[in-house]
């Protein structure tokens, strides 16, 4: 009997120690990246745009309520376990047999209901606030179309087509200039998620969804496709480039230009237009008007290739054209079986597409 009692005490101490150690190790570690101001980290708790900001405020309230519930209930549990643990001599008799209590049951039904009521009020207010926002006249309108596994980005009013990097202007203090984004899909379901700017919204084929962002700080914001969409779901990255209004205007003007026709790369140009590249890619102002792959008119203005799978450097461009599978397994871009010389020429041509 003694042995048994000893074991229980040891067990209890171990349990408590474990709980404490757990809180220290697992929970304290990520506090800095989640709540701190670490570079490159996309924590939903340090947003830099509406509506992510509003979501954060609601989330912190919910977190606080849930945290309080946890502390109370877990505290009661620990107290009950320690206070009513088995002791020497307990075998002699059973504890008082209590079958229940209507008053207590009522209390712990009503209390959660009240909490739920509060949560419902704040939740529905935030839902309506975010979802029913109307676009002001100054808003920028973009359309993002999901493809396996890249993002087509269009600005119908500005006549711009690009890919994988969404440029938007900042919202100045005085003039609110949010970007409203129409979401569509060309094949399967995807989801647009840039945690620092907004919650995610799905891109569903045969359907048009709408979301909006209103970032205030210039910078590059990273995001992912958040709905499983096939082999390269992991390599379907988004970059949102937030620019001050004048920089954004400059970018718009640059993008509206037709493709530059350089003389230095005539060989590569010939190769490009002689192979099937043109069936899938558009280069505005030329015969290349394909719709299946990303628009290449201003390819060099983008920082990554293949939706973030590789940096946009001549070397990775060369590797990508020679064998897309070597950078992105499963990519739908075919290997055109070009010779090394042809690859070099095409790369030289593509590099003129500034």
């Amino acid at each position: 009997m003694r042995l048994r009692l000893y074991r229980h005490r040891k067990m209890l101490r171990a349990l408590l120690f474990f709980a404490f150690a757990l809180i220290c190790v697992v929970f304290a570690g990520p506090v800095e990246p989640v709540f701190g101001n670490t570079d490159g980290v996309t924590s939903i708790f340090r947003p830099l745009s509406q509506p992510a900001q509003e979501i954060k405020e609601l989330s912190l309230l919910v977190l606080a309520i849930c945290g309080a519930i946890f502390v109370v209930v877990a505290g009661l549990l620990v107290y009950a376990i320690v206070r009513f643990r088995h002791r020497a001599g307990d075998e002699a008799s059973e504890p008082p047999q209590v079958y229940g209590s209507n008053q207590i049951e009522l209390a712990w039904t009503v209390l959660p209901l009240l909490i739920v009521f509060v949560l419902i009020l704040v939740t529905s207010r935030t839902i309506a606030d975010i979802q029913n926002r109307q676009a002001p006249p100054s808003a920028v309108h973009a359309t993002v179309i999901g493809h396996q596994w890249w993002w087509e980005i269009r600005y119908p009013e500005l006549g711009i087509v690009t890919a994988n990097e969404l440029h938007v202007p900042t919202t100045d203090g005085g003039e609110s200039r949010p970007t409203f984004i129409k979401l569509q899909s060309a094949d399967v379901a995807h989801s647009f998620w840039v945690p620092l700017l907004a919650g995610k919204t799905d891109l569903v084929p045969n359907r048009e969804n709408l979301m909006w962002i209103a970032p205030t700080r210039p910078g590059i914001y990273l995001g992912n496709c958040a709905e499983y969409c096939g082999t390269q779901h992991a390599r379907m990255l988004i970059r949102v480039v937030v620019q001050p209004p004048d920089e954004f205007q400059q970018w718009v003007r640059d993008q509206q230009q037709s493709a530059a026709i350089g003389t230095s790369s005539a060989e590569g140009r010939k190769t490009f237009f002689a192979t099937s590249c043109v069936n899938c890619h558009t280069i505005s102002g030329t015969a290349a008007q394909g719709q299946f792959g990303p628009d290449l008119t201003h390819l060099m203005s983008r920082t990554t290739l293949a939706a973030g799978a590789a940096p946009n450097t001549p070397e990775s461009l060369r590797k990508w054209i020679r064998d897309p599978q070597s950078i992105k397994v499963g990519s739908l871009m075919p290997n055109m079986q070009l010779t090394d010389a042809e690859v070099d020429q095409v790369v030289a041509y593509l590099q003129t597409l500034k």
Binding site: V34, Y99, V188, P195, D202, N209
Partner: protein
């Protein structure tokens, strides 16, 4: 596990040669043997799908890892999820129900013994078919292998244009078969519970385990048709030129999501309510008190069942529903938290004032209570629609549902194993190995899944086969992967314990825990006819009445039936 089933069969069957045993295995209609076969088969798949999870964790341990090819990784998480839900969760629950419900209600077998065997074999056939996809699914040009569309198989990724070969067909057909198995098994449990209770066992005298099994099996009958119908529609799309989900011809991708989650959300409760069932038996016995608020527990379970059919679209908050739709499903989802909370409070009320024996089943129950509390609270966070817009399809969700299904359900099932193993085998599981199992598994569980909450908050989406450096995910993923190893070793301890204790465990006797429900009134293992004479009960705790004639429950129940 096979050896366990065979050994058990030998106790009751006359023939002992291998052929006799195998024949008995395939021909048996005994609810206890089928129950153990269900559980044994499910445990095999637990190991298989668990090893797939370990492989997934190894791939994610470091950024830009190349251990698994993307296609292999995608198959692994699809097979892991599908197998864990349909080949582990559902059959273990069917097994527990099969084994325990007749014993607890004092009857000799299920209402339809042969239907019972049919259900089991349908499940086995479906399960083998799912894994056979690795060999059978490749089609033209080598497309297709094991399913790789995720366990909820969103359209139109499952259409012929995007899922070539036969992987999706295997996914559909194998689940249709296991669904048939689950449905007939559910019908059987419901019929047994409603018609075969021993004398004196009114509905409100049934053990809570039986009540919750009754509710969960009703839910199976109501929820599975939605999945089966959707799967058949998908088959029509794939082979008969239908366009239900074929968006290229005007079909609806969202329709699939509705169909799936009308099944899928009740399914979550179908899985967790049997966990509640185990807890509601074990906690009272090891606290030495009756369950606190029995009628409220029954009511709360029923409420959960009803509400859970009205919350499905909280899986679809990001799909672009109207603000009214989003609000409705946020409200219903939060409401389901209320009866769930009531249950946690009632278990707490049971512990409070008791004399808690920290034996293995109870230790796992306590683990459940803490972990399920966290799981419930993260569930509330996910119900807050705008919060969900950030968290949905991130690792936070992965952490949440693994907290529910591992931290909750699996802990309850572990508790159940340690509690009822002596009844089924006649020997106790080893305490020391059990403690190793508990500590290794618990440490591993928290390393893996606590960290996932944070990687989700840091923007890590689920189902990605790799990730880049620089977004704060590296350390969290590494810790998570180390945790997976701990869990695997923990489960190994359990496996060794189960096999070793078959022959070397301490002899249990009929009633090793000094418990109160009818299954402890017969021998361990029970004879093929369960009870020599049909028992008669007068209260919810018949064995308490027997052991405490001076203070029987029926006195209280008859006197104060209005009181409670």
């Amino acid at each position: 596990m096979a050896s366990q089933e065979i050994a058990l069969t030998a106790n009751t069957a006359p023939g002992t040669s291998l052929v006799d045993r195998l024949h008995r295995l395939v021909a048996t209609v005994d609810h206890k043997e089928l129950g153990l076969m269900y559980i044994g088969t499910a445990l095999i798949f637990l190991v298989v799908a668990g090893l797939m999870a370990v492989a997934i964790r190894l791939q994610l341990a470091i950024p830009n890892n190349t251990l698994l090819e993307p296609e292999v990784f995608n198959r692994f998480f699809t097979m892991h999820g599908t197998a864990m839900v349909f080949l582990v969760g559902m059959p273990i629950i069917a097994g527990l129900g099969n084994y325990l419900v007749p014993l607890m209600i004092g009857t000799r077998d299920m209402a339809f013994p042969r239907l019972n065997a049919f259900g089991y074999w349908m499940f086995v056939f479906g399960a083998l078919l799912l894994y056979f996809s690795y060999l059978g699914a490749p089609g033209l040009n080598g497309h297709g292998s094991a399913p790789d569309v995720g366990w909820f198989a969103y359209a139109p990724l499952t259409g012929r244009a995007f899922s070539r070969g036969h992987s999706t067909d295997y996914w559909i057909l194998s689940l249709l078969l296991t669904s048939v198995g689950s449905t007939v098994s559910a019908i059987n449990v419901v019929a047994t519970t409603l018609t075969l209770r021993c004398r004196g066992m009114k509905l409100m005298r049934m053990p809570l385990f039986v009540w919750m099994m009754l509710v969960t099996n009703f839910m199976i009958i109501l929820a599975l048709p939605s999945l089966s119908a959707a799967q058949i529609m998908l088959l029509i799309d794939r082979y008969l030129g239908g366009h239900f989900f074929d968006t290229q011809s005007g079909g609806s991708a969202v329709l699939w999501q509705h169909f799936f989650w009308i099944f899928g959300h009740p399914e979550v409760y179908i899985l967790i309510i049997p966990g509640f069932a185990c807890l509601s038996e074990i906690i009272p016995v090891f606290s030495r008190k009756p369950i606190f608020g029995y009628p409220v527990m029954v009511g709360a379970t029923t409420m959960i069942a009803f509400i859970s059919f009205g919350v499905w679209a909280h899986h679809m908050f990001t799909v672009g529903m109207t603000s009214v739709g989003n609000t409705f499903f946020a409200v219903s989802t939060m409401l389901v938290g209320v009866p769930t909370g009531i249950k946690i409070f009632n278990w707490l009320g049971t512990i409070y004032g008791g004399k808690i024996r920290l034996d293995l089943p109870m230790i796992f129950c306590l683990g459940f209570l803490f972990q399920f509390l966290i799981a419930g609270l993260t569930g509330v966070m996910l119900a807050v629609t705008p919060f969900d817009w950030q968290l949905s399809d991130s690792y936070f969700v992965v952490a949440h549902f693994h907290y529910v299904l591992i931290g909750g359900l699996l802990y309850a099932l572990f508790a159940g194993f340690y509690y009822w193993y002596p009844k089924a085998v006649g020997r106790l599981l080893n305490r020391k190995l059990g403690l190793w199992h508990f500590w290794l598994f618990t440490i591993g569980f928290h390393l893996t899944f606590d960290t996932m909450h944070f990687s989700g908050l840091l923007g890590m989406p689920r189902r990605i086969f790799t990730y880049d450096v620089g977004r704060g995910w590296e350390m969290l993923n590494l810790i998570g992967s180390v945790g997976a190893i701990f869990q695997a070793v923990g489960v190994l301890c359990l496996a060794i314990n189960i096999l070793r204790s078959l022959r070397h465990g301490k002899v249990a006797g009929n009633d090793p825990w000094d418990a109160w429900t009818l299954e402890w009134a017969t021998t361990s293992p029970p004879p093929i006819y369960n009870f020599e004479s049909a028992p008669v009960v007068r209260s919810r705790r018949p064995l308490w009445d027997l052991k405490h004639p001076e203070d029987p429950d029926w006195k209280y129940e008859e006197a104060g039936s209005g009181e409670n």
